[in-house]
Amino acid sequence: MMMNHSLKNRCKVAPGTVIAGKWHSNKYTVLKELGYGANGIVYLAKFKNSQVALKMSDNGMSITSEVNVLRSFAKVQGSTLGPSLLDVDDWNSNRGQISFYVMEYIQGPDLLSFIQTKGKAWTTVLILQLLNDLNKLHENGWVFGDLKPENLIVTGPTPKIRCIDVGGTTLQGRAIKEFTEFYDRGYWGLGSRKADPSYDLFAVAMIMINTAYPKRFNKSTGGITQLREAISKQKDLLLVEKVIVKALHGQYSNALQMRSDLLSLVTDNKSISPGNKSTTINSTNSTFHNPKANQPPNQAKSRQTYRKKKKKNRWVETISITIFIAFLYFLYIFQKLL
């Protein structure tokens, strides 16, 4: 990398260009450019009547590095966070050999535009999905790293959050490979850049703040004070303040903890009448998640009522969990004060 523009130029190809692999001899026809980043350009391409995404880079090693990550994603059972890898190859263009890989084309708006058009009610649902996927990733020894709304795509017809850029994914215990300042805990002075699950959870908390401040904001005083102030000015954020602050402090060591805290907070806020069923936290999670996953795409209305019923049933249990957590939190604060 001498200058960024030289990299862009070499990988710049016109729609209609046929890219033929040197090793596997598959042929891809470029349809249009989807986007470009520091590490290359992504194109929409046609392969045997199906649409795929093709990423090209001057820097063959960064392609190889991302392919390694996608390969290990494929080994994670049941995770659908990243795109699936279809092919890796080199292309002998008239400007020299260019490395590329081909992946599943994930179509949809990014997280912030989706929430803007479909309503803020979706924020929590999508964050819960994200936390679930992150948990699987973390369990397999990885940390996503460069988590930000631009990298998160919501696909349909049943809205599902997916990630499109895996360039920042890092093995736990190593230094984070790529990050974006606003979502980076080091930038805010709230922790190191060593890859551990709480690094991603910090970014998730910042994404939640980002949904209320779509234009982001700059660091002034930095640290937790500035972030808490930003939270306190937004009603939507105040509802989930506890979870956000805990994540900003790095007090969640795994995504499921954060998920269940968030879940109990939102269900508590919205329910009105008490129910009489009580189950454990874990089963609450699964009953919330499974019906949604099995929903046919066009039953949004019945899903809403179904969820309401569920909420009533869990009222007592949510209250008790909240009280319990509030008690623990109180103990913690008390201990800090001493």
Partner: protein, 245 residues
Amino acid sequence: MYTGKIRQILLITDGCSNQGEDPIAMAALAKEQGISVNVIGVMEQDVIDEKGMTEIEGIAMSGGGVSQIVYAQQLSQTVQMVTRKAMTQTIQGVVNRELQQILGRSQTIEDLPPEKRGEVMEVVDELGETVELEVLILVDTSASMKHKLPTVKEALLDLSLSLNARTGDNQFSVFVFPGKKNDVEKILDWTPKLQSLTSIFSQLTTGGITPTGPAIRTALSSFNTKRSLRSLMTGDDESFLEESM
């Protein structure tokens, strides 16, 4: 498994040199000693002129390093990216030479099938995480840099945050040019942490001239005294990365 170390000079400047030796020649001298020279050109509202640009690219090119022009606001992210890229570049260079020895003259990583390449990349990643890194930072303190210095300080603290998240050891040293008395002045000797910069930076004065060439030359001798001091103390001859370069 691998005990070499990577040595870099990171030059942060906003324009053309105007005193002393040709900085491009000095960068070439650094490369001969296995030290790569990376350059970051910092802009604000003002734009770096053609001559400054050519020099910045020239220094990085002949110093075997990476160059990047940025606005002051993006400095933090760029400093850590450039350092990382240069480090990976050096490691790839070493790995490529090893491969050539094993597979024959013209073979590089790029000539391997994509599947094999993945395994090589894992080694490169692993080395990037564990290798010992020495970064000598050269900060231009000519008059035009005056109001950019607080941003430079932030960026350097951020760099030490990024690099200290690695498993491998880091050593930093900071020089400014022009200095109070000489062309170049050392403001921080080799240390694993950059935190002490905070107090030093607020006392810096800026001067008129930009002796980039002499600055690089002095930086080189700092690497050399460090090496001789250490080998004197520990009595071992470390296998330096540059020996295979």
